[in-house]
């Protein structure tokens, strides 16, 4: 009860500040939109897809997962600004739930990610992408869990390193291989065997496959529930680890 109330308070505040400066939502969506408009048209011939729509069914899921991963991983920078302003310390002298300090922020990130995903999906509709709405919502759930995990981890790391200079290279180093090993831009079916083997250990490659199956209308594909389960478990673990950092962080 207290957790829900405290989380709502933090979430409300964060959303209010986000809406005061909504330009960030659009800045975040700018790059994927560019990919959608300027890169995706190359895919039909490159992937040997029968139609433009078929190519988009493969490409858009990857783009959305990419957005969820990166959108989350870089939220730590905002937290470092809050640390520096003393806002976190001010919260930590109150009896507010430490888990709520994290969840309120991460849920804002989830909401802004879903808003961005909707923008991308709507644009893709213009290119003849069609997805059944129920499957689309399941895909959004997967994206939400990914964003929850990556933003929580980013907050936890931010509280540990406490400086942008340390956070930026760290996040980039993690994000690059994760990105390449998840078949986000092109499906890993094109990859040599050893690369596919390595990618199996990347949780995001499972979620990309899951979202692709959903976009293809293939709910019975095992990748769907496997992907969801993997990210759900990781999200819970990430949230608890990061909440611990809020409880013990120094300065």
């Amino acid at each position: 009860m207290k957790l829900a109330r405290d989380t709502w308070l933090i979430f409300q505040r964060q959303i209010q500040l986000l809406l005061r400066n909504p330009v960030w939502v659009f800045v975040g969506v700018f790059q994927p939109v560019m990919y959608l408009l300027l890169f995706a048209p190359l895919l039909k011939p490159a992937l040997n897809a029968p139609t433009q729509a078929a190519a988009y069914k493969i490409f858009v899921p990857g783009l959305l997962v990419l957005l969820a991963i990166f959108g989350g991983l870089f939220q730590g920078f905002g937290l470092i600004a809050e640390l520096r302003a003393g806002v976190i310390e001010r919260s930590r002298v109150t009896p507010v739930s430490r888990l709520a300090l994290l969840l309120g922020r991460s849920l804002r990130d989830v909401v802004s990610l879903v808003a961005q995903a909707v923008i991308i999906t709507l644009l893709a509709l213009l290119f003849d992408l069609r997805v059944f709405i129920g499957y689309l919502l399941l895909a959004y759930l997967m994206l939400a869990l990914i964003a929850l995990m990556t933003s929580a981890v980013s907050y936890g790391v931010a509280l540990k390193v406490k400086s942008e200079d340390a956070l930026a290279p760290l996040m980039n180093t993690v994000a690059q291989p994760v990105l390449l090993l998840s078949g986000i831009l092109l499906p890993l079916t094109f990859a040599p065997g050893w690369l596919q083997g390595v990618a199996k250990w990347n949780p995001f490659s499972w979620s990309v496959d899951g979202v692709r199956a959903l976009f293809a209308g293939d709910l019975s594909n095992d990748k769907v529930w496997q992907g969801l389960t993997i990210v759900a478990v990781l999200a819970v673990a990430g949230v608890f680890w990061a909440a611990r950092q809020f409880a013990r962080s120094v300065r």
Binding site: K2, D6, L9, R13, Q16, L17, R20, N21, E82, A85, G86, V87, E89, R90, S91, R92, V93, T94, P95, V96, V250
Partner: protein
Amino acid sequence: MIETRGLRKSFRSRAGRETKTVDAVRGVNLEVAEGEIFGFLGPNGAGKTTTLRMLATLIEPDGGEATIAGADLRKDPAEVRRRIGYVAQGGSTWDESTAREELVLHARLYGIGKADAHRRATRALDAFQLSEYADRKCKTYSGGQRRRVEIALGIIHEPKIVFLDEPTTGLDPQSRAHMWDEIRRLRTEGMTVFITTHYLDEADALCDRIAIMDHGEVVAEGTPAELKREISGEVVLVGLDAATTPHAAELLDTEAYVSKLETADEGGLRLYVDEGATAIPQVLRRLDHAGLELRSIELHRPSLDDVFLTKTGRSLRES
């Protein structure tokens, strides 16, 4: 209201490959009474902030115990949090929020209901003369206004004790005077106020009792007057010509109120007395009687800096 026994904290910091241990606080014993303004006076790096952050439950002590407003710091930090307010040294407001939003949110984090939080925010804005700017973003405030918002945040839940870490550092003289009035008002309202400062005049003028801190230890504790009296009493500087000085010294050395007499380097005499105000007329009368001509007479009351100098061998002004 606050009682600490042997509070300790050290930090390990890494500089390159070496790890260095800094003993920031080394066994602090304090007693702060209800309703007083208690001051922690010490130079930068003395360990004031670290002590306050331990008392405010932000960092865990390495050792020692403390009872704060009746709650045990080690066993029940959650209860301590409910009973205290804390205003950090480096600020605590967010540029893009307004004072009212900050106050309402902060009150709500203490579990206060929405309507009540709004009422309290309005009242606090009034009390701290912030109503005019209440709905402007914090980044537009002056240093003094912002500091007042932060103090208002620290007491929005009406704590029994409020910790203010260097509340006037960086403020111009007028804002400082204003802030002193605000802090005195808190005491009038029945709050116990624990401030840290490295300003001698602030400790002297504002605090009922002070503890002088240096290198992580409390080196002296008492009311400013007690501390000053303890070290030397007052000094009367008597300006005389070199020729008459020995004679005057002979005369004054036998006076009962002079506890010690020295010849000053610059000529003349230094008389150590208990109370300068009553000693001066007697000195004047004695010298006049003997027909000795006086060039000047001056009373020197010891300052807290003299106290600091006696206890640490350094001047606080220089450290």
